[in-house]
Structures are given as structure tokens and as C-alpha cells.
Symmetry: C2
Subunit: 599 residues, 2 copies
């Protein structure tokens, strides 16, 4: 598949360089070895490997999903081959430290690189993605021994990693996990319990799988304050790094999903006695960080994981947009209104205003979502490398408040984009012969995993906009107002859009205060999902005005398209927030006052 | 599966009897043989057969979809068995004349009956549904010979029927079909061409398949005015009714779809020379109605076919709602805001306000959509049996204007309902172990077939609201205003809702006029999809106020739920129309002014 049907390199260049000024990061010590050329080279490499090694197997991984055979996971052999090639690129450690073999690329650049793979084959991408998240967590919180034993082989592509949080009875509610970790005299732990929804939880893609497992040490505090984090390898690893005895992590079953089928999703039983490593019961685990600090360690990585979900959603929205655009330009059907001659030739679909509406909407969702996640990627870079503590703090606050939006907005609207991509294709889009129905199915996972849509709403309204005395919201308000002010200074159409953004921002701030005047927690949070959506559209209008301004005086078709998508977003999308803000300001109790017995 | 997870019989009784006053139809001659008891008996029968014979094979028909083997369609054997049992019920002719073996039930009642089957197994339901549509068309436009030869065996369950409109190059654009029908000296025709997207186009479920085929007779007028309609049986039928020689209708391939997999969808080649019936080339066809009147005959049936799509969408939305409600009542997860004790037991999902939001939204979409299609069913009964010509005309006008909404609104919002049903289930809803992901996939066909969403918009804005000097819109305005007036007379909350409905109706009427002041056809219709959606939400608010009023003073939990869903619709849904009306009133040109080169 040509990379031009996955993402637009032109747009990535615009976003990374013209808008985000990524080259300015080259002045910082961490990125001093880099240049625009090295950035471009990894973007080219990612596009090429994604298009040639990932995209061709996207359909096969969906149609021929992983199976459980004799207690093992079997899948199409192309996955192992493609991941082997991916490992050779070194991209898995693209933003990690040079001392562990990383490239020390800006996080914004690696986010852009990874978007190519997400667009090409999101099901296959989960394997390196989870391994990266696991390695990053151990680099931040693990011991030198854990880094040596697990992280190095992961970054070399020999080991894979997972995150084991959920359990059958506790999905969103981590306070209720029951997996227990019993301390042993030698400082290790023995784990017993069931873990559910574990992506990449078992497979034969490498030499070993390192599970990061949340569990409770008996006697600890109740709820989330009693959660600890452990490394639990599938095979024990000797001090010499050799893979040895089988640990007691048993594959109990696979979940068969609507989409994301290329990613095997498992139920794992720990310590059920299938194996007895070292002759004793339980799965052997090593503590990561301190006891009862497991959730804090995990949340440290959660922002990046959630931005990764948003990025995947954006990438799927983007490739669906490009494919439906290609279809709309080549497929002819009917005539435009007013053309009454039935003998006139049919026109390309893109000539129909309603098809252009569906393309503009997709463009505004997919390009907007990608811009947002790259902005968040840039914030990660600022959080890590900005010159002053104040700048780093500001980036962290902004990232905290933007993360639920960067996770949920692409997950919601890029499914809608994929829905429109199907619709542009008509009946053909509903068949498995075209790609877009799979994107729609794959993308539908994103509002569920890594914290559901509802949980992101509560996170934003109940935590992020009030944390540190509202400092997160203030930070957001600051950057949005600054954009509106720049737009006002430009005058003309920019000023007009800036004024509308400013008014919406004022409304958001006012409504946030109003909601927090509600004394009862349940009433205050009852409309958190509406708040998330209204805040999301406000943020995206800001992102679109940013892009509008970044076009400057350039007037190629590319820039006209960017400006038109911004106009579309301000005219057709942003007004959706009006009724949402009204309901929030009124502290609407409709859902809360519904007796469950009335359904 | 228990019928109570498919539809609510209580709600059907409320809608058919308390609201629509279906019993009043018993006074009419056509329904004189019936009683409330016979209505109830067929509703019970439909629920039972749907739950016991259709629902159990819904998953199997999806997982093990029809295959093409040696030029024939193979499918799971349960379909043939279930359809045989369905044929024995006689429901296929439920609303047809007694003289052809029909039950002469009101159309509203048969629509309700069929909704059970659509909720149970929409993929299997296509076979009898298409056969019914085919038979109804031939009863209206066919010769006595066609009725005898084809309709009787169809109503006996021996033959099946299809509708062959689309072609590979002409999906939505029927003007561009190229299948040709050459007249023969004996009065028959020989057909040559390719038909695409033909549901139930080939299978071994009965003795024969009667295709109704649109084709052009050479020398006729161009475009849609040159389309004629033909019966083209798979096997020729002798004068004695015996199934004979194979006609030249060849199965050229199957379309493999995202959903609706139980319905085999085919590409058929007519007259390609695989068979030569009577020793001559071409597929043998008989004309239905007059030459060049094919589209008129087909459109005669189109309203009912489109209401059938709306009904199917509503039924899928409904069963998804009931299943997610059941899940939300039994699955426990987390605690409500403000409950800080981690040792407190987890609460059922339904206790979370955001889950209740998702249930209320589904309830408002699914019950609203079902109510709308039953109302349309009732209009069909009025159109056929009302006492005066004026009443019949008014019903026809109202049906014309409501049909694009009854087709598109359930298709749009009941996919959203299924989306929410998945979300209520969390990760489980994304697995194929639960039903809701299939409903979501199945339902996604509905905005595409029988006229896409965009085409319904153009039909409503460009044709239905302006036809007969706006008489259709006047008729709608009349019934909606009457409801608002009744609500005003009731006072209290009803009056408040009535005032909001009245204001929205005024806006709709005003915006309709404004749009039609735009001189250029392309600009006038550029936002037709927005118009369709705004008009749809207005109509649904009316449907919800009707239900609110129909509750009267009754105050059981059922009625409280109805009132609460009405409130939800007025507070959370109806305000969406505000920004849509604004764009329409401003004759927004954003999509029209987008140069295709800017994407």
C-alpha cells in the first residue's frame, strides 16, 4: 500500500515543523545530536516500513485472528516477520535515552512515526506499543536489575511486554482487583489471581513476555491504596539473562472481538498450579517501586498510554479519510442538482456537496485529532526538557488537563470519521473488500480501553480541572486565550474565528465554575461526559485556529484546505457545544433523577 | 432467547392500543373479522417464533456466513428450517387481502409483528421481507397470471423474491442502469446485464426465486423515464405452475459484508449465456405494468420498503437497549461518586449516572424510532381504509413527508443506540460473546441501503416538503401543531414541552421557506442532510410528546419511564437542532465552496 493512503506526510511536516516548530528542540541538549534531516529520515523509515511490512497484513490479521491451540496462541506468521523487521529499525526506543540504546528523538517525532504504524495495522502495532510502554515504566521505576534483565531484551526485540491491570470482576474499578502477591523470604513474591483483557498476553513472537501486574500484598490498605506492581515474566530469566523455567502464568482463554483482531487479547491465570517454578506454587514476581505504590507507578505511564490511544484513533480516522477521498475522486455516480440531462456523464462523488461535507468532517476530525496528539507529544518533550522548572510545570499541568481529551476526543470523532468513510463508499464501504469497515470496527475499541469515555469525563471534570486549585484549567485557558489574542491581532477572518473561540472558552470556564458550585458529588459529576465532549470541541476549535494561523500567508491548495477545514469546524462543529454548556450550566438532573426501575 | 430481550411487549401494547388506538380500526370493513384478541394472538405468535426459531441462529448466521460453492449459495441449514416454520405461521401475508390468502391485519399490527423478527435475526428476516415486498408489488401492478404464477407460491413459502435495482456502476443513480430488455415476438423479453447488491439473490431455500428487475427497453427515453420492470424467475414456471427450465440468471459472486451477514448479497449476471432457456440467449422476463413505467411501480412500494428499513433499525436499537439494560442491572462495577469506602460492595452499573444517560439515550432512540414506524404503519392503514378521500389523501401526504425520516432517523440514531449498548457493556460489549457488537455491525447497513442518508435528505428537502405546493409539510405541521395544542390545554409540564415543540416546529417551517428562497439548486440542497437531521429530531420530539400525553394520568414505573425518556429527549436531544437550523437559515456554503483540490 502506498504511504499516501495511510497519512499525509505533507500534513505531518506542516504540523511538526510549520506549526509546532519541532526544529527549535534541536537547541536542547537532549536532542543536540539530531537535525531536521534525522527527523525526516525516521519519518521516512516509519512510513516505508509501515506501508510495506504492516499494511499488507492488516486484513489477514483481521480475517484470520489469533487462535488458542493446545494452550498456545497461534497467529499468521507475517506478524513475527514484520515485528522482526520493525525491531531492526530501532524505532522501539526512538524517544528513549541513548544509554539504553535509544535514539533520544523528541516525543512529538516518535508519536508521528508511530502514527504510520497505527494507520497501517493497528492490531499488529499493539505488540511493540505495549512492549515500549512496559519498558518505559521499568526505566522510570524499575531497579537496575529489572532494566538489565527485562528492558534491554525488550528494546532488542527479543522480549515482549504487557500491562495486566483488569480482572474479570474489575475492569474500570481497579480498587476491586483481588490478585494477591505473597512476599517470599528471598524478596520475591508469589502471585495468585486472574487477569482479564490482557492484550498480547500470550504469543510466540519472541523469547519471553514480561507482564507488569497489579496485585495486592495481603495486609495492605484497602482499595487503590493497597495496589502494588510486579514484573512477572512468562519464563524466569537467569542472572545471565538466559530464559529458563516456565513461570505459572497460564493462558486461560482468548477474547474474540469485533475489531482489533490482530491483537490477541487474553485471560491469564496466575498461580493456578499449572507450573510450579522452583518447585513452589504461585507465579514468581518482583516488586516494581515500593509496596502499595503500584497505581502511582502505573499512572505515571498512563498519560502516554492514553495519548497513544488517541493517536491510534486519529491514525485510523486519517487513513479512512484518505481512502474515502481517493474513492470519492475516482468513483463516478449521478449528477449534481440542476443538471437535468440524463445523457450527461456521471460526475465523481466528490462533486456532490454532501460527499464534500462527509470529507470535510473527516478532515476536521482526523487532522484535528492528529494535531492534538502531536501537540501533547510536544508537551511531553517540554515536560522533560524545557529550560525552566516553571515551563516544565506548565507543560505537565497542560498535559494533565489535555490527556482525557486527547484520549477521548479522537476515540469518539475518529470513529465518526470512519463511519463517514464507509458512507462515502456506499455499499462498497460496507463490504470487507474495502478497508474502511475494518477501521470502523478497530477504532470502536478506543472509547473503551485505557479508561472508558465516561471515566475520562470524570477524570477531566472531577480531577483535572480542579487539581492544584484549578492550575490545569488556568494553563489551558492561558494557551487558548493567547491563540485567540494572536488571531485578533491578525484581524480579518482570523480575528472573527478568534472571537468565537474566546467566547467559547469563556463559556467553558464559567460553566466549569458553575458545575463545581453543585454541592453533591453525584450531581456535580452526573454530566461529566457532556462536559468532556464540550471541552473537547472547544480544545479542537483552538487546535484548528492554531493551524489556521500557522498557514500564515501561504496559499497553496494545501493551505486553502486547512483554512476550509478550520471554517468547517467553527461553523458546523463548534456550535454543538452550545446546548451542552446549557445543560451543564443548568446542572441538569435528568439522568440522575431516573429511577432504575423506570427503564 | 426470551422475547423480553428482543422488544417490550408492554411497550408495543402501549403504542398500538393506548397511543395509536389500533382497536378503532376494527370498525372498518377491511378489519371487521378481527378483534383485539386476534391482534394479540399474532403478536404473541410473532414473539414466540422470533425468539425460539430466529434468535438462536443469529450468531451462527453471522459467524458462518453464506458461501458460494460450485456456483451455488450454501448457508447454515437452520435458515431453511426456520423459514419453513415461519411460512407455516401465515404471517408473510399478514396484511394482504384474504382473497390471496392474507390475514388482512392492519399494517401497523404487521409492522409490530415483523419487528420481533428483525430484533431476533435481521439477517434471516431479509428473505421473507423481500419476498413480501415482491409479492405486494406484483399484487399492485402485476397481471392475474403473474399473481397466479409467482405471488401464490411466494405466499405459500415455496418461492422467494428479490428486488434487482442497482448495478455495479449505478448504485444510487438508477438513471444510469444499463441492463437491457429486448422485446420478443411472444410478448416476453430477454434481459442482458449485471445486477449488484442483490440481497437473497441466490440460495436453495425454496423451489424458485422471482427476481423483480429494472431494465431498459432499447429505444426508450433516456434516464429514469426509460426504466421498465420485469419478473425474471430463476427457473421458468410452466402454465401449470411447475418449476421448469433454468433461466439465464447466473450467480457471479457474493459480497462479504461487515454485518447483515446472514443475508446473502449477490452479484447476478443476466443473459451472459450460461443457460439458454428455450434455446435462445438472454434471461426470460415478463413486463410488470407498462413499458417505461418501471420506476413508478417500484416507488409505489418504496415507502413501505423504507419504513421497513426504519423498523429494522429500530428493532436492532431496541434489542440492544434491552440487553444493555439487563447487563447494567446485573453487572456490578465501582461505586457512586461520594462513596469513599473501598470496602463497600460494588454497585450495579445502572447506579452510575453516566450509565443511566446511555440507557436513557438508547430508550429515547429505540422506543422513539419504533413509535415512529408504527405511526407510519398506521398511516398506511389510513391511506388504504380511511372513510373519506380527504382523510386518505392527508394520510398519503403525511406518509410521503415522513418516509425519509422514518427510514433515516432510526438508521442513524439506532446505530448510535447500539454504540451505547456496547459502551454500557464495556470490554465485554466489544467481544463477539455478547450480542451487541453484531447489532451495531448489522445496523450500520441501514443508512446505506434503500436510498442512502444523503439521498433521503434530498428527497425530503428537494421533493417531499415542496410537493403539491407544500401540502406534505402542511400536513405534518397540522398534526404536530395539534399535539402541541393538546399539550398546552393540559397545562403543567405537558404545556411546557408543547411550547418547546411548537417553537421548534415554527423554526422548521420558517427555515424550510428560507432554504427554498435560495435560487441555485446546488446551494439549496447543499445542506439537505442537516435538514433531514433537524427535521428528524423535530418529528421525534413530537413522537415523544405524543407518548407523554398518551400516558394520561397513569403512573406506573412504565409511564414514569416514558415521561422521563420524553424529558430526556426534549432536554438533551432536541436542542441539537438549534445549530442545524442556524446553518440552514444562513444557507451555509462551506461544503459547496470547498474545491475538491483542497482536500
Amino acid at each position: 500500500m502506498t504511504p499516501s493512503l495511510l497519512l499525509s506526510r505533507r500534513d505531518l511536516d506542516f504540523l511538526l515543523y510549520d506549526w509546532l516548530g519541532t526544529e527549535s528542540l534541536l537547541d536542547r541538549e537532549r536532542f543536540a545530536e539530531h537535525s531536521r534531516d534525522t527527523f525526516d529520515a525516521v519519518l521516512d523509515l516509519a512510513a516505508e516500513v509501515a506501508a510495506e511490512q504492516f499494511a499488507p497484513y492488516n486484513k489477514a490479521g483481521d480475517a484470520d485472528e489469533p487462535r488458542m491451540v493446545d494452550g498456545r496462541v497461534e497467529m499468521i506468521p507475517e506478524v513475527r516477520r514484520a515485528l522482526g523487521l520493525f525491531a531492526k529499525t530501532g524505532l522501539i526506543a526512538s524517544s528513549m535515552d541513548a544509554e539504553v540504546g535509544g535514539m533520544q528523538l523528541p516525543y512529538a517525532v516518535s508519536t508521528a512515526c508511530f502514527a504510520w504504524f497505527q494507520a497501517a495495522n493497528v492490531g499488529m502495532w499493539s505488540y511493540p506499543s505495549l512492549t515500549m510502554g512496559n519498558a518505559a515504566l521499568l526505566l522510570a521505576h524499575g531497579t537496575p536489575d529489572q532494566v538489565e534483565r527485562y528492558v534491554r531484551p525488550m528494546l532488542e526485540g527479543r522480549f515482549h511486554g504487557t500491562m495486566c491491570l483488569s480482572e474479570p470482576q474489575a475492569g474500570s474499578s481497579l480498587a476491586d482487583i483481588t490478585t494477591r502477591a505473597e512476599p517470599q523470604p528471598d524478596g520475591t513474591y508469589r502471585l495468585f489471581g486472574n487477569k482479564m483483557w490482557i492484550s498480547a498476553g500470550d504469543h510466540e513472537l519472541g523469547d519471553n513476555i514480561v507482564h507488569l501486574v497489579l496485585a495486592k500484598v495481603p495486609g495492605g490498605p484497602p482499595g487503590v491504596r493497597g495496589i502494588s506492581l510486579f514484573t512477572v515474566p512468562k519464563y524466569l530469566v537467569g542472572d545471565d539473562g538466559a530464559v529458563g523455567e516456565r513461570n505459572d502464568v497460564a493462558l486461560a482463554g482468548l477474547n474474540h472481538k469485533m475489531g482489533f483482531r490482530g491483537t490477541t487479547n487474553t485471560l491469564l491465570n496466575l498461580g493456578e498450579g499449572r507450573w510450579t517454578p522452583g518447585g513452589a506454587p504461585g507465579a514468581v514476581g518482583q516488586l516494581v517501586g515500593a509496596e502499595n505504590q503500584g497505581l502511582a507507578c502505573m499512572f505515571h505511564m498512563m498519560n502516554e498510554a492514553r495519548i497513544g490511544v488517541g493517536s491510534g484513533a486519529a491514525a485510523l480516522g486519517y487513513t479512512g479519510y484518505l481512502k474515502s477521498l481517493e474513492y470519492a475522486r475516482t468513483r463516478t455516480q449521478g449528477r449534481v442538482p440542476g443538471s437535468k440531462d440524463p445523457a450527461a456523464p456521471m460526475v465523481p462523488l466528490v462533486e456532490h456537496a454532501d460527499v464534500r461535507r462527509m470529507l470535510l468532517a473527516q478532515k476536521s476530525y482526523a487532522e484535528g485529532a492528529l494535531a492534538l496528539v502531536l501537540y501533547c507529544g510536544r508537551l511531553v518533550d517540554e515536560e522533560r526538557t524545557a529550560a525552566t522548572e516553571a515551563e516544565r510545570l506548565r507543560a505537565r499541568l497542560l498535559l494533565e488537563v489535555l490527556t482525557p481529551i486527547a484520549k477521548s476526543w479522537p476515540s469518539q470523532w475518529c470513529v465518526t470519521a470512519n463511519d463517514l468513510a464507509i458512507q462515502v463508499h456506499g455499499g462498497y464501504g460496507y463490504t470487507r473488500e474495502y478497508d474502511v469497515e475494518q477501521h470502523y470496527r478497530d477504532n470502536r475499541l478506543n472509547p473503551i480501553h485505557e479508561g472508558t469515555h465516561g471515566i475520562q469525563g470524570v477524570d477531566l471534570l472531577g480531577r483535572k480541572v480542579v487539581m492544584a486549585d484549578g492550575a490545569g484549567l488556568d494553563a489551558l485557558r492561558g494557551v487558548v486565550a493567547a491563540t485567540a489574542a494572536r488571531a485578533a491581532a491578525e484581524g480579518g477572518e482570523a480575528a472573527e474565528l478568534g472571537a468565537r473561540l474566546g467566547a467559547t472558552l469563556d463559556r467553558l470556564v464559567e460553566v466549569t465554575a458553575r458545575v463545581h458550585e453543585v454541592p453533591e458529588a453525584d450531581a456535580r459529576l452526573a454530566n461529566a461526559s457532556l462536559y468532556l465532549e464540550a471541552a473537547g470541541h472547544t480544545v479542537l476549535a483552538w487546535i484548528w485556529l492554531e493551524q489556521f494561523l500557522a498557514c500564515g500567508t501561504a496559499d497553496e491548495p494545501f493551505h486553502r484546505g486547512k483554512r476550509q477545514a478550520a471554517r468547517y469546524f467553527f461553523r458546523h462543529e463548534l456550535p454543538r457545544t452550545g446546548p451542552q454548556f446549557d445543560l451543564l450550566a443548568a446542572a441538569d438532573r435528568t439522568t440522575l433523577d431516573t429511577d432504575p426501575g423506570w427503564f
